[in-house]
Subunit: 409 residues, 2 copies
């Protein structure tokens, strides 16, 4: 008998009919002899409806009050699913974030989990009760309701799975797994059967939307096997787990493309120690995340300094950058918004040499110019002209053999 | 500086625009130097919407889960009002029933308040915070959400006013007070300025819908002055308070009409001791409330036995009654659904004699036959043919001088 946490997202509980389908899956898992804990999101559209109400009454709604408001959505779905399951003769019980002891800090609307008590769930499980838990929410030390921000319900599921040492945490969503690349861009992309936490983390932070980095980090930390599966069709999904020997058989597991970055270049910067810190300090202070940074070799004591920031932050960043550029005596500042970051991810890179060389070769062969490069142990990213992103991804996908079933996956 | 509890019903918070109007009233009371605690219902229609969801998923929704579901409605309105007030620079904070310590028993969907801690409200008030509290809900000893049933938000308001020894509890609703009679039936009905708890209790239990008996009982027990006022127009409402000398100046304060009863008569019952108990016992066991009971003097050891029960319970009651009637040897059973109970209420009756005689006289003068009579210290009720109810109420309203402003009110 396995202990399984099943998490269903907003579209999976988006209607009465779909809630019945969730009940089917829960019932099936129970009948197969498993102990099941269900974590639910709000019905799709509900959070938007509540958000609209909030913005109708206040230009800048108070965040504590926003949490009080938004946390109602999951309470509706857990009560409804518990009713359906009980109607089928299963002893299900709904529990709020507070009732299962999801303790958080006080950063309303984006709270971090500090502790998971899970006492009532443990007690419910011993009595054979199926706990149906409200995702996305917890309480702080004052017993005020908090919410966990984007991907919060996944986080609730993973945190409960970790605290209860569950055998598996299944994230049911509207896609049937993690793909080698976004199928909307690369039609030959295939579902990955198994992927290592680290790979998934890189892919999540590089723009794969199916899982949030926070949930993957949590799963990795507590070694919770995480499965991404479709609520709407039967079949296998993607299992995210600790790296094993098999996984290294292929060099590249997935390819991501990210067009949310912009490139800033300071031309003709006097090459003195401390210039980078002086430039990037004020940007960090403004809470703008700098992603890639390159500094060219200097000519006649002058260098060019480039970095990328989120495209949405360009407006906010420019006055700060212009100011610092003047201070440090840069000749000019240029902004390129139409860039894309294409990345290869794979734990196999550690043992396969030549991945970077092959990537550059493929891009060059397609006539794609590389503006910036950054690498980590299991990732290579290239910044290119945005208009070549799809072309680059498709070419790399084919060149690294991702169009075929990878060995050992 | 007074401490005032203001309670707003569903129609008063039924839209964004109306929530702004509630904020106007709260702001005004605060500017006048009062400490204000606000208690809110769910937006009108919201409870119905949630109920519909519940009945869509389950034929007989589990009551604990129903409470989890229904309790979300007030959380939405308290969050929204707190946002509006904070947007105006007032330090308002929303609190759930749990957060203000409304402790109840475990009778889900109709829980009774067992204790009111109100710690967080006390603490909030000392810091100058305006507490905005979710009505209708509490938690039981297991920390499960419970709801208080019909009129539950009024009860929350009165209970908080009692626990905090508030100077006044104002129930803002869609009518501007308690009337001498239902204005839809008696067009000359007038608003009562002041009324004693006992009178209000009688009127509530006799069908005046503006306040529920439970709230009035609670207010009387803790001597909380209760004001019923309109959310939609300015002006005085009705103050429900402890009886004072003035109130006795008039014999009759109000007239009610109730057409929700049905009359059952057992004809030709052998007049033996214990017959009433044998007959009414099984009905009480079936949770059917018997209101009025009369037994005629016997002729040749046979008597007629009549009583009234709620009209909605007739179907459920009849098999039980037929069964017992056979057992005790009654000749026949008759049911009259088309009856109405018309009542006069007034603490003045204690000191004014002849109220009953005058009532019978007025009804007789209008040609209305009286089927049953029951009296208490401050009430006289007559059961009559339903078709005369309006006529009887109007005639009595005029005869007892309620068309004019009562003295001392």
């Amino acid at each position: 008998m396995a202990l399984i946490v099943q998490k269903y997202g907003g579209t999976s509980v988006g209607s009465i009919e779909r809630i019945h389908r969730v009940a089917d899956r829960v019932e099936q898992a129970v009948k197969e002899g498993n102990k099941v804990i269900v974590v639910l999101s709000a019905m799709s559209g509900e959070t938007d409806r509540l958000m609209k109400l909030a913005h109708d009454v206040a230009a800048l709604p108070d965040e504590r009050e926003l949490d009080m408001l938004l946390s109602t959505g999951e309470r509706v779905t857990i009560a409804l699913l518990a009713m359906v399951l009980r109607g089928r003769g299963l002893d299900a019980r709904s529990f709020t974030g507070r009732q299962v002891g999801i303790m958080t800090d006080s950063a309303h609307t984006r709270a971090r989990i500090t502790r998971v008590a899970a006492e009532r769930i443990r007690e419910a499980l011993t009595r054979g009760v199926i706990p149906v838990v409200a995702g996305f929410q917890g309480i702080n030390e004052h017993s005020d309701v908090t919410t966990l921000g984007r991907g919060g319900s996944d986080l609730t599921a993973v945190a409960l799975a970790g605290a209860l040492k569950a055998d598996r945490c299944v994230i049911f969503t509207d896609v049937d797994g993690v793909y080698t690349a976004d199928p909307n861009i690369v039609p030959s992309a295939r579902r990955i059967n198994r992927i290592a936490y680290e790979e998934m983390l890189e892919m999540a932070s590089l723009g794969a939307k199916v899982l949030q980095s926070r949930s993957v980090e949590f799963a990795a930390k507590y070694n919770v096997p995480l499965e991404v599966n479709s609520s709407f069709k039967e079949g296998k999904g993607t299992l995210v787990k600790r790296e094993d020997a098999d996984m290294e058989a292929v060099a590249v597991s997935g390819i991501t493309g990210d067009r949310n970055q912009a490139k800033i270049t300071l031309v003709g910067v006097p090459d003195r120690p401390g210039i980078a810190a002086r430039l990037l300090g004020p940007i960090a202070k403004a809470n703008i995340l700098v992603d890639m940074i390159i500094q060219n070799v200097s000519h006649e004591s002058l260098t060019d300094f480039s970095f990328t920031i989120p495209r949405v932050d360009v407006k906010k960043a420019m006055p700060i950058i212009e100011e610092t550029a003047k201070d440090i005596g840069a000749k000019s500042v240029s902004v390129t918004e139409a860039i894309a970051k294409v990345s290869l991810v794979g734990v196999g890179m550690r043992s396969h040499s030549g991945v970077a060389a092959k990537m550059f070769d493929v891009l060059s062969h397609e006539g794609v110019n590389i503006m910036m490069i950054s690498t980590s142990e299991i990732k290579i990213s290239c910044v290119i002209d945005e208009k070549y992103m799809e072309l680059a991804m498709r070419a790399l996908h084919a060149a690294f053999g991702l169009d075929q079933t990878p060995v050992g996956k």
